[in-house]
């Protein structure tokens, strides 16, 4: 009865997405002349790149919320931790090119710091940074999740303590003493692996990497939820006691998916920061974490593809409406959320399925 990872047509769609994102977009952006209708502007590339990072978060949220039934209001923190890990590296890459021509990041100089604080030790190594990007969110999630799941904290109690964590983390990072640049965070990046960052080709490289990451995370998630592991997760969501009495230790399962989900967000954050050029504690604001859940809900929970669609839909709408209706866009966005819940209980993807099902 084992299901294939993807059906044939889904593989087809996946491949098309891969080709479009990793080959067509670069061509349209880099080689099609700017005045051609087929040209894809840098701005559009940056926008799509950013939204793909969000989509990774939404996908991660789907694993933990959609499939396991654990609503995290703390995914923004994992995202930001990944982002900060990358940001520290990017700050170090500025080298002596900062305002103060110091090896220390500028904000440290003007706050009178004389040496790098201990937690910056590994930040000059790219390899270490790549590790930190997954390990730091992973470790935070592991410790937090271990205690929470062990204490059988469930439902909204879990959601609320993740929110408390989020809020505490945000305040902590706001403090200048914490050593992450306070509320300004990190900006003005110059290089990544010694290659200038503000070039079209570097941007495209980041874009393609993000696309590849999103698509492979999608496959990984498919595989996870398609395995018995995934079914245990859904069983945990439905009847955790029964899971225990069937001989599974739910803690291990919850913890595993929780950590995986956190790490995915960390990776998303790390890809996000060089593309948008700033990371600061407002990424950890409770509202941001809630938004991730909203993308997942809009697209359709427990569908994997839904949250990705949701991330694109909501953020696309936001980007578009803040320009076309700067004073009214919140009405549209609010109406979208209400409309989706009232009329599309299974999200946008649910609607598509229904329409398809109706025809068949």
């Amino acid at each position: 009865m084992s299901k294939p990872l993807l059906t044939r047509s889904a593989w087809g769609a996946w491949l098309v997405a891969l080709v479009v994102l990793c080959a067509v977009v670069p061509v349209l952006n880099l080689w099609v002349p700017a005045d051609s209708v087929f040209h894809m502007s840098d701005f559009a590339v940056a926008l799509v790149g950013k939204i793909m990072c969000y989509a990774i978060c939404a996908l991660a949220m789907d694993l933990i919320w959609g499939y396991t039934g654990i609503l995290s209001l703390g995914h923004g923190v994992f995202f930001a931790l990944g982002g900060y890990a990358m940001g520290m590296y990017l700050m170090r890459q500025i080298g002596l090119d900062g305002n103060y021509k110091s090896a220390l990041p500028d904000f440290m100089v003007f706050l009178d710091w004389k040496t790098l604080p201990w937690h910056w030790t590994l930040s000059d190594s790219f390899v270490a940074t790549l590790l930190l990007v997954v390990l730091v969110p992973g470790l935070v999630a592991l410790v937090f999740g271990f205690f929470a799941f062990r204490s059988r904290i469930k439902g909204v109690y879990f959601s609320i303590i993740t929110q408390a964590m989020t809020f505490a983390a945000m305040l902590l990072f706001f403090r200048n003493e914490t050593g992450f640049g306070g509320n300004n965070g990190f900006t003005d990046f110059k290089r990544i692996v010694d290659i200038p960052i503000a070039t079209t080709s570097m941007r495209m490289t980041l874009f393609v990497m993000t696309a590849a990451t999103l698509l492979s995370f999608f496959l990984m998630a498919r595989w996870l939820v398609g395995s018995k592991f995934g079914r245990v997760l859904q069983a945990v969501r439905d009847a955790e006691t029964r899971v225990m009495f069937s001989g599974y230790n739910p803690i291990g399962y919850k913890l595993t998916i929780w950590v995986i989900s956190a790490m995915m967000c960390g990776v998303a954050g790390a890809l996000y920061v060089p593309q948008v050029g700033i990371i600061n504690p407002s990424e950890m604001s409770p509202a941001n974490s809630i938004e991730i859940a909203i993308w997942a809900a809009v697209g359709g929970r427990a569908t994997l593809i839904g949250p990705i669609v949701g991330a694109f839909l909501v953020n696309g709408a936001k980007s578009w409406l803040t320009v076309t209706y700067p004073e009214f866009w919140l009405y549209f966005l609010g109406a979208l959320f209400i409309g989706v819940t009232l009329f599309l209980p299974d999200g946008v993807v649910g609607l598509v399925k229904k329409l398809k099902g109706g025809k068949a």
């Binding site: 009865m1 996870l224 018995k228 592991f229 245990v232 029964r242 225990m244 009495f245 230790n249 595993t256």
Partner: protein
């Protein structure tokens, strides 16, 4: 060092080892390594004392209300034990205690003679080989019947194992067999949430069968079943008897009659009477509190 010195040393060592060996053979446990009891093999239930489940002086109270009161009870391997008793006697609570859902205030609960159940958590207890059917049927509503059974299947239940799990053909056969037993072969791809009450009861029993536990705790398994299905359940339980130990809580006396050897009557948290069904049915106190006239 000279060769003879070496030799002397070797002899000393030999003597020492021999002395040690001689001593270990004289322990109370008949020469087994540990001096106090038999070697406990993890995951193995030691039933050499003839008891698979053993409760002694267990009490539990909720906000001052004694739901279980100095309860002592034991069950032999392969036995099918029926438990009856008035509503609120503490039958479900007793199962809660055995399966780790409720921690008693006092008392001891042993699985076999070596496993102190009070030290384990629910999932561990289940893996030790105790399966349970709840009074209110609990199945995974958002999963299909097939998936419900697959999850219950006795196998390595670790995270990694689950990720890479594939049904082998023996397991597949077993699954088909159970599906047949519980009459849900036609509903195999329906969501469990959409089953009727009785169907859920069956599915839950099926999950227990898949789990293949040493001891099955069944809380009102035939509630809401037709008489005919009740009979089939009785057959099923009788066929399990011997290979498994069963503890069945029921209020359906005809069902109890079909399956029972020994019946234990629980009342106000402790054992009121015990014996064959006829014996307990004749007991005035049982008639008074439970059967009615």
């Amino acid at each position: 060092m000279t060769p003879d010195l070496l030799e002397q040393g070797a002899k000393r060592v030999q003597a020492h080892v021999a002395a040690l060996e001689a001593r270990t053979g004289q322990t109370e446990s008949g020469g087994r390594a540990a001096g106090f009891s038999r070697l406990a093999t993890p995951g193995e239930v030691d039933v050499t004392h003839g008891r698979i489940l053993y409760l002694e002086d267990v009490s539990v109270s909720f906000d001052g209300f004694k739901a279980i009161n100095n309860l002592s009870l034991d069950i032999a391997p392969g036995e099918l034990r029926c438990i009856i008793g008035p509503n609120g006697a503490g039958k479900t609570t007793m199962m809660d205690i055995i399966t780790g859902k409720t921690k008693p205030n006092t008392g001891t609960v042993f699985f076999g003679s070596t496993i102190d159940l009070l030290r384990y958590k629910e999932a561990e207890i289940a893996q030790l080989g105790i399966g349970r059917k709840f009074q209110k049927p609990t199945v995974f509503e958002q999963l299909t019947v097939f998936e419900n059974l697959e999850l219950a299947l006795k196998t390595n239940k670790g995270v990694k194992a689950s990720m890479f799990f594939k049904l082998d053909s023996a397991q597949r056969d077993r699954l088909a067999e159970v599906l047949h037993t519980i009459h849900l072969a036609e509903s195999v791809h329906r969501l469990a949430g959409n089953l009727s009450h009785g169907q859920k009861q069956w599915l839950e029993i099926g999950m227990l069968l898949m789990q293949d536990p040493k001891l099955l705790l069944l809380d009102e398994p035939v509630a809401g079943m037709t008489d005919e299905e009740t009979e089939r359940t009785a057959e099923l339980f009788l066929s399990l008897k011997g290979k498994h130990s069963l503890m069945v809580v029921e209020h359906d006396m005809s069902f109890i009659r079909t399956i029972s050897d020994i019946v234990t009557v629980l009342c106000e948290g402790s054992v009121l009477a015990q014996g064959t069904l006829d014996q307990v049915q004749a007991d005035e106190r049982v008639i008074e509190v439970y059967l009615g006239r």
